[in-house]
């Protein structure tokens, strides 16, 4: 087993990096994969609370790097899946406590025993971002269909491409199909045309994402959630399975069904 290291990054903050990491981790674990996620946002720890593991933290990634504990001791096992682990960020330190080579070392140590290592990058394009991408085999750039998020995503893609080592793929998050239909939101096709990189998935806006975070149970665990389904599909694509893109125009609920009946 040699794990694939996947980093999620965005440039802009608040586009859904942490939620996406949590959901993809859960979806991969549900498919029977051995997964470790690493919170790369030193000083602003959050992946733990989104995964519902905030009360179990003893050691963090900086403790590992500075030799205060063994790697195994900083790995927190998930509540639902026994092959899913979190390595939390340090909360009282800053980005400079970790270097890119530290991240490569930690990931190399994890590779042999896992299928996927997911790294949650902090916002920005400075040290924390450099740390997060250092060990990556694949980088997913996540954005929202919104001008500032797309512009920042383009900067990040430019930086990644200038290093040549990475060929980033796009994860478009929080698309609102009704607004797209009313021409008040950039469509997936618009964003793809602007950024001109490969697409790994489109996740529709879904209130269930916040409900999931509230409970510490990512929405990918919800069989009926559209966003959950989108994340599960992306997880399949990361495993190399061809998976068709969701039809985001399909409206659920009584109104949607009536509308579809009307069209027939």
């Amino acid at each position: 087993m040699t794990a694939k290291v996947i980093t999620l990054t965005s440039g802009k903050g608040g586009v859904g990096k942490t939620t996406a990491v949590a959901n993809l981790a859960v979806a991969l674990a549900a498919d029977g994969r051995k997964v470790v996620c690493i919170d790369g946002d030193i000083g602003l720890r959050n992946l733990d609370i989104v995964l519902g593991l905030e009360n179990r933290i003893v050691y963090d990634v900086v403790d590992v790097i500075e030799g205060r504990c063994r790697l195994r001791q900083a790995m927190i096992r998930d509540k639902h899946y026994q092959d899913l682990y979190l390595i939390p960020a340090a909360q009282t330190r800053d980005k400079n406590a970790v270097s890119p080579s530290d991240m490569v070392r930690v990931c190399d140590e994890l590779r042999a025993d896992h299928d996927f290592i997911l790294i949650d990058s902090p916002a920005g394009i400075e040290r924390g971002f450099r740390n997060a991408i250092a060990a990556a085999d694949k980088v997913l750039v996540i954005t929202n269909p919104e001008v500032s998020a797309v512009r920042d995503a383009d900067r990040v893609v430019g930086i990644l491409e200038s290093e040549e080592k990475y060929s980033p793929a796009l994860l478009l998050n929080r698309l609102n199909p009704v607004m797209v239909k009313n021409h008040d939101m950039l469509s997936a096709a618009d964003v793809l045309d602007l950024l001109a990189i490969q697409l790994i998935g489109v996740v529709p806006e879904d209130e269930g994402v916040i409900v999931g975070s509230n409970r510490g149970a990512p929405v990918a665990l919800e069989p009926k959630s559209r966003a959950g389904q989108a994340f599960r599909n992306i997880a399949k694509r990361l495993q190399g399975q061809e998976t068709p893109f969701l039809d985001l125009d399909k409206q659920d609920g009584l109104w949607g069904r009536l509308q579809r009946l009307g069209r027939k």
Partner: protein, 88 residues
């Protein structure tokens, strides 16, 4: 409904504005060229070309274009024909 009135009065929907504005700003972000620098570059190009051949500066079009993730500077420079110059 608002879409109907927008079309009636020719107002642009916001998604279209977003895309057009992003197209412009991304070209400048990617090339690190401001619109003012691009204008200066165009002027220099025109002056240099005009030293060698007869051109109509009004007919020249120089613009940055996107081609996937590549940007290119595309110039369309119509040349005045020799026959017309003689006639004139």
């Amino acid at each position: 409904m608002s879409g109907f009135f927008d079309r009636l009065f020719g107002t642009k929907r916001s998604a279209e504005s977003a895309k057009e504005r992003l197209q412009l700003v991304l070209v400048h972000d990617r090339t690190d060229l401001t619109p003012a620098q691009l204008d200066a570059l165009k002027d220099d190009l025109l002056k240099t070309i005009a030293r060698h051949i007869d051109i109509d500066p009004q007919a020249v079009q120089i613009a940055l274009e996107r081609d996937g993730r590549e940007q290119r500077l595309v110039a369309d420079i119509p040349l005045r024909s020799v026959a017309r110059r003689r006639a004139g």
